[in-house]
Amino acid sequence: MLGRYRNLTILVGVLFLQVLGLAVQVKRSGDASSTRLIRVWAVDLITPFERGLVWAQNGASNVWHDYFFLRGVRAENRQLKDQIEQMKLAQARLSEDAIQAQRLQSLLAFKEQFITKTVAAQVIGSSGSDLSRSIYIDKGENAGLKADMAVITAGGIVGKVWLVYPSTSLVLMINDQSSGVGVFLEKSRLQGVLRGTPNGELILERVMNDEQVAAGDTVLSSGGDQIFPKGLPVGKVSEVGPGREMFLSVKVNPAADLSRLEEVLVVTEKQERGAVAESGTKERAADILARRLPSVPDKPAVAAGSVPAGDAAAKSQPNNADKPANASVTKLGGKAATAPSAAGSATVAGQPSTGEVLKKEVPKKVVQKPASGDSDTNGGAGSAALTGSTGDASNGTSSGAPSSANSPAKPATAHPKPAAPQPAPQTSPQPPATEDSPH
């Protein structure tokens, strides 16, 4: 009897044993520690080969790209330098907004998460299954990694650390079907949960039909999952269509290229602290920007006798003698030559709060460029940017330069060669310097 059904009996026995093993694991609520030893064996068996191959591949690629295939590198280098210049200017302008936001958040006692430490890791393999989206990285417990740490790239979020071994870790990516990320839409602030699909796509769930969601909307992490800090880029809405019942079907293109990851950052430390307004809040983006521009070097106050028009006008008002700043705003905007004296006096009266840096620049600009009227010069570029934040100054600048103060900023037209860049205040979710780099 048993002989006839021997094969079937063994099949049932083997299946029963596996079902039993699964049941034990499920009963322990998915705690991977119960199977840790077995997993370590498997990982230790496979990953050394993966590491070796990745190392060899990278070595060959580096030799080729570093020593042989250098076509177009100079042009790219030049382009990148230009880009850096422009980004420095943009960063300086944006820093004021960041400071202001921090100030407001501190007033409201907001808590904010800051990424304070990351570990760079290299992707060495995947889980070996097309039904789960997970990758192996070459850093583990030895590098301070723990389960549930966020894994990101410069482009956006990637996933979270799922299982940690001594020298490797398994990362569950955000497009895995079992993962979920708390997100919100940047424009509408609409919150939702991002999930993976069987095809490895990302779907924003539980968005009602009557919500306004458009293709191209940026999706950011909301911080609600307690894994990813708020504000990290997640992706962009690629497609919006009718979904089941009363919900929309919102597809999202991941910001990070999840199918071609090579290096990632693991967020090993993040701090939650109240936003603190900088104690020296007098320094504004305008000041930082002015410092960086080469045409506005520091210069001591010029003697009254040597200063024509604008400054003299400012000095003629003793009550505002220490705050003639907005005169410079107008003049630096490039219209000083039109009616310098009137500009100086009227602006001082109207807007006394612009940065002190500008105060020093007044005589210089008037002396150096009395009739240029050119806002595209370096100095003009800087001041044009400043007018963005002191736009009201034009109201006071009644007769001097009615149009120039309101003229749009043109910071990027000039190509200044700034001094060493000043570190901008840290905005919340920017990844800091990495603790270690991939090899």
């Binding site: 021997r6 094969n7 063994i10 099949l11 083997v14 299946l15 596996q18 079902v19 093993g21 699964l22 049941a23 694991q25 499920v26 998915g30 199977t35 077995i38 997993r39 064996w41 498997a42 990982v43 068996l45 496979i46 080969f49 993966e50 191959l53 992707v123 060495i124 393999g125 995947s126 889980s127 070996g128 299954s129 097309d130 039904l131 789960s132 997970s134 990758i135 192996y136 799922w162 299982l163 398994l170 569950l172 895995d176 079907q177 079992s178 999930r195 699909t197 069987p198 095809n199 490895g200 199918s259 071609r260 990851l261």
Partner: protein, 172 residues
């Protein structure tokens, strides 16, 4: 030529050397883990499944087939994020069916191999999803388009792979 007799049909039963028996599944597991990061479309393939089907059909021994399937499936589970046993159960069933089918069908023919592999891919997916959703309570969703596409891709690659692996067969 050694021949075994089953149900009045003459079929050939093959065996494999130990290096091939151990090395081929390990290589399949390694490639499955390594290549999808370099070639994204490779994730459609399930090399360990193809190896399970091949060994099952070549050996034509249900016990050997189910044990091979269980071993390969469990090893695949160990590399993944989910509880160990889901792939194990699915591949055990496939290994058993493949070896049972090998007894009854001529599985040397390319057309047969193509259809059999497609069928086994779908059976494997059905068992996997049943266990994953029914027992482990994973929120996995089945996509027919991806399933059929992946099944066809595996069937085509399987036919080629089987012809390569045929070279390692040793007649008993």
């Amino acid at each position: 030529m050694p021949i075994t007799y089953t149900s009045e049909e003459q079929i050939e039963v093959y065996r494999f050397s130990i290096p091939v028996t151990v090395g081929v599944p390990l290589l399949a597991l390694f490639l499955q883990a390594f290549l999808p990061r370099r070639v994204p479309y490779f994730s459609y393939l399930d090399l360990p499944l193809l190896v399970t089907i091949f060994f099952g059909m070549a050996r034509r021994n249900p016990i050997s087939g189910l044990l091979t399937g269980a071993a390969i499936g469990l090893a695949q589970d160990m590399m993944g994020p989910y509880p160990i046993g889901i792939y194990g159960i699915a591949k055990t069933v496939v290994g058993y069916l493949a070896s049972s089918l090998g007894v009854k069908l001529d599985v040397e023919n390319a057309g047969t191999r193509l259809l059999v592999t497609l069928g086994f891919y779908l059976i494997h997916a059905a068992v996997y999803f049943t266990v994953a959703r029914g027992m482990v309570n994973l929120t996995l969703n089945w996509s027919w388009s991806r399933g059929i596409l992946a099944g066809l891709a595996n069937a085509v690659v399987g036919v080629v792979l089987y012809f390569v692996l045929d070279k390692f067969k040793q007649r008993t």
